[in-house]
Amino acid sequence: MNQFILMDASMGLGVVFIFGGLAIIMFMAAGIFMLVKSIKIIRKELSEQAAVVEDAAESSAQEGEEDV
């Protein structure tokens, strides 16, 4: 009788560990995916802003040359 109870308990614990493990793996995988996505967004926005600033600087330099 005790052997069956122990078997049931250990199988139950094993199932919990497998479920928990799967959930944790997916948690981390989703986290890494969002991490990469957020870094891409940030780099894209920063480079766009840098391009805008560069264009503005170039056009003001050209206007300065024209005035001269």
Partner: protein, 149 residues
């Protein structure tokens, strides 16, 4: 029927694992982004979303790592509580607001002091909302489970 049960047994934890982090991070983004926009720190919605997503994903992943290391490997619930609490306090009240403020400063014309203040305000509001979300998740999962068991 048996195969369906096995399939569900695999898919449900995968879905729950992904849903938990996605919801946690997206709730923070949905709360903080309009606050930062309304306060006039920046007008670049995508950039604010990206910064918030980055900081909160890292925060959640470190928290999960703490749970795994102290909870599963060390099996010590007191150490788990102390370390998790310490990380949450350090992250929510120092690392996240200040790092977000520095990130906003790259595109903002506002003074750094103001940006830090507004970043703290936005993070405080999302922290309270996050606590409410965690309490709700606990009630929805532990509550029914405690009735069953």
């Amino acid at each position: 029927m048996y195969n369906l049960i096995i399939l569900l047994a695999i898919l449900v934890p995968l879905f729950l694992g992904a849903a938990f982090i996605v919801l946690s991070v997206m709730i923070t983004v949905w709360i903080e982004t309009p606050i930062i926009l309304r306060l006039g720190v920046l007008d670049n919605r995508k950039y604010i979303k990206g910064v918030n997503m980055l900081t909160n994903v890292i925060h959640n992943m470190i928290l999960m790592t703490i749970f795994i290391v102290t909870g599963l490997i060390m099996k010590d619930s007191d150490v788990l509580k102390i370390v998790a609490l310490a990380w949450v306090v350090i992250a929510e009240f120092a690392l996240i607001p200040i790092s977000e403020a520095y990130a906003y400063k790259k595109l903002s014309k506002m003074e750094m002091g103001k940006i830090i203040g507004y970043s703290y305000l936005a993070n405080l509001i999302s922290f309270v909302a996050g606590l409410a979300f965690d309490a709700l998740m606990t009630l929805l999962t532990i509550g029914p489970l405690s009735i069953v068991f």
